[in-house]
Amino acid sequence: MFDKHRLDVLLGRYFDQTLTPQQREQFELRLESSAEARAAFWKYARIHNLLRELAQQRTSDRFVELSLVAQGGEVENDSRDIELMFQDECVESTLLRRRPSIYQVLMGVAASLALLLAAWHITRPVAPLARPPHTVIASSPVEIVSKAVAVVTGAVGIESEAHRHAYNVGATLDPGIIKLQKGFLQIDFFSGARVTLQGPVELKLVSTMEMECLSGRLSADVPPQARGFRINTPRMDVVDLGTSFGMDVDSDQMEVHVFTGEVELHNENGKVRSLYEGQAETVNESGRLRSFTSVPDQFVRSKGLRNRLEANFRDRHQRWLSDGDNINQDPSLLFRFDMQNPQENTLNNRVRHTPSTADGLIVGGSWTTGRWPGKSAFAFSSISDRVRLSVPGQFDSVTLAAWVRINGTERLYSSLFMTDDFFPGALHWQVYHDGRVLLGICPPDGQHADFYSSKSINSGLLGQWIHLSVVYDSQAREVRHYLNGAPASRESVRFSQPVRIGKAELGNWNPGSRPIRYPMAEEPRPIRNLNGSMDEFEFFTRALSDAEIQNLHLQGAPW
C-alpha cells in the first residue's frame, strides 16, 4: 500500500542527504514499485529546485545591486574564471533580465542566450555590468564566519592539554578557556591589545576587548586603539586606559603592576581606583589593598618573548637544514624543493642522485617568508602563478608531501600538484573548496577516482603552516591522506594502475594539452590556482609509512 506519510519522511531525508542505507533501500523499493511514488518524488523535487533557484536569484539580485554601486568605469569580462562563472549562470541571466536594453546592445540581433556562453571567450571589455576582473563569486556565496577574537603570535615551550596545534603561531582563538601548564604564549586580540602569558596560567577569552584571568601571570600591552580593554579577575577587574601592565593572580591574592600609563581597578562594590606608571597593588582574600612599587622584571613581556622566539626559530631552522641533508639522500626521492636560496626563475631540486629530474621552472609568483624568519617560501596568489615540472617515468607507488600555508579555498579546487593531462596514472592533488584534500587518480579506464581526506583545512588552520601528505600505495591498494603528520583518511583502491606524471605543476593547473576535454585552443579552462604559499615539497617514488610521514612532519615543524 502507498504510505504517503512514510514517503514524505524518506523524501525529506533524501533531499537533506541523511538517508541511512536501510532507508535508501526502502525508498528505492517504493520508487521502483509505485508510479504514484515517482510522481510524488518529482513534486517534492520541484520544491527543492525552486527553492534553490529562488535563492540564487536573490543572491544574484544582491550581486547586481552591489555591482551597480561598486562599478564606475570600464570593466573587463574575463574568461579566466570560467569554472566558477558557469555556476553563476543565474547571476549572468539575472543581469540580462534586469537590463534588457544593455543586453540587446551588447549581444546584437542574435539576442540569443547562447552568446552568453560565447561571451566566455571574449576577453575585451564588453559591458559596464559585467563582473569585475577576477572577482570570484560562488553560485550561492556563503559568508565565511568565525567566532575568533584573537590570534596566537608567539609560542615557546607550550605544554597544554589542548589540541597540539591549538596554540601554533597563526592559530585563531575563539572565546573560551586557555589553560597552559608550561610555556609562554603571546596573543594579539583583534582590538589591538597584546597579552603575553606565562604558564601555568588559566584564562578565558570573552571578546576582542575583554578576558578573564582565573589564575597565573600575564603582561598586557594596550595601544590607544584598544583603550578600554578589560581583564576581569576573581577579585577585581582591571580596565586599561592605554598602557602596559602585568598581573599575577592566584587563589590568595592578585597583584597589578603598571609599567607605563594608567589602569583603573574596579572592585565588586563598583568602586574605582586609578593606578599609575611605577605603581603596583595587591588585593588579598579579604579585599584589602596594599600599594608598592611595580616590578616589571617579574613579568615576561612581548619583547622578552620575541627574543626567546627568535632563538627557538634559529634552532628549529638549523635542525631542519641538517635533517634535510639526510632526506635528500633517500634513493626513492625524486624531487625535493626546500625553497632555500630563492632564485628568480628556478626552484632548485635538492635531489642530485637522479639525473633525469630537473629543477622546477617558476612562472609568476613571488618569494615570501617561510616557516622561520630568514627562511623563504614560494607564494602563489595570481591565477597565473605556477611552478612547472617534468617528471619522467612511471611508479608503482608514490608519496607527495608539502608544507603549505593556505590563505583561502575560494576556488572549487585549489591545486597543490597536478599533472597537465589526465591519462591513466595521472595524479591531481588538490584542496576542495570545503577544505578537504583530494587526490584524483586516473584509473585504467580513463575515468577518475577521487580520494578525499576525512579531515579538512578548516578556518582555524588557514594562515598557518601545515604539513600535507598523501600516499598512493599500490601494494596495499590504498590511498592515505595525512594532515600535520597524522592520518586523515585511508581508502582502498579498486584498480591497479602505475603512476605516470609527465608535465605537471605545483600550485596551479595547465590543462592546455588535454586534447579530449579541451579540443579548441580558445576554449576556456578551469582556474585552480592555489591561494597560499609553499615552503617545502617532496615527491617520493614509494609509499612512506605512517611513522615516516610523522617523522617528516616533525622534522619540518616550525614550532
Binding site: 520508487l31 527543492h48 540569443s112 547562447a114
Partner: protein
C-alpha cells in the same frame, strides 16, 4: 577584392554555427537540466559539477546532435551519464539513488513547466513560513549551510533542523500546488 571562401573555411564556419546553435539550445534547456540533476543529485556543489560536466560534453559532442531533433532527450541522456559517472566515482559522501532507479525516474520526469509562475507562487507561499522556518530555508538554500552548521547557529540539533526543513518543504509543496491549480 573579397577573398573567395574555401570549402574548408565554409565547413569550419558551418561547424561554428552549429556549435553556437547547440550551445543556445543548452542555455534554453538549462532550467530543465538543473532540475533533473538537482533532483537526482541533491547536493548543491555536486549538482553544479555535474551540470558543468554536462555542458562540457554537450560542447564536445555538439556535432553528433542533429538540429530539429529532441534536444531534451539528448541532453538528459548526457546528464544521466554524468550522474552515473559521478555515482561510480568516490566523490559521493551521501547515499545516492542507484542507476536503475535514476533511469526509472528520468523516464517519468514531468515536462517543462511555467518556471516564472512557479517561482512567484513559491515567493508568496514562503511568506506563510514562520520566521524561524524561513531563516532555516534561507540558510540551507541560499547560503548552502549544512544541517549541522544551521543547527550550530541556532542552537538546534541537525535532526531538528532536518525536521523543520522537511515540514517547510511539504508546506511549500502543497501551497505551490494549490496556487498553480487555482491559476489554471
Amino acid at each position: 577584392m573579397l577573398k573567395k571562401q574555401t570549402a574548408a573555411e565554409k565547413q569550419a564556419e558551418a561547424a561554428a554555427a552549429h556549435l553556437a546553435a547547440v550551445q543556445a539550445l543548452f542555455v534554453d534547456h538549462l532550467p530543465i537540466v538543473r532540475s533533473l540533476v538537482l533532483a537526482l543529485w541533491p547536493d548543491f556543489d555536486g549538482a553544479n559539477d555535474i551540470v558543468q560536466e554536462t555542458f562540457l560534453t554537450v560542447n564536445r559532442r555538439a556535432a553528433s546532435f542533429k538540429l530539429g531533433t529532441d534536444f531534451t532527450a539528448w541532453v538528459a541522456s548526457i546528464a544521466r551519464f554524468k550522474i552515473k559517472e559521478a555515482w561510480a566515482s568516490k566523490y559521493r559522501s551521501f547515499e545516492i539513488l542507484s542507476p536503475k532507479i535514476v533511469d526509472s525516474l528520468i523516464s517519468t520526469m514531468p515536462g517543462e513547466s511555467d518556471r516564472q509562475l512557479e517561482l512567484s507562487a513559491l515567493k508568496e507561499c514562503m511568506e506563510r513560513l514562520s520566521p524561524k522556518a524561513g531563516a532555516i530555508v534561507e540558510m540551507r538554500y541560499e547560503q548552502s549551510h549544512s544541517l549541522k552548521e544551521i543547527g550550530d547557529r541556532i542552537g538546534w540539533t541537525a535532526g531538528s533542523v532536518h525536521v523543520a526543513l522537511s515540514r517547510a518543504r511539504m508546506l511549500l509543496r502543497d501551497c505551490v500546488h494549490a496556487k498553480l491549480a487555482k491559476a489554471q
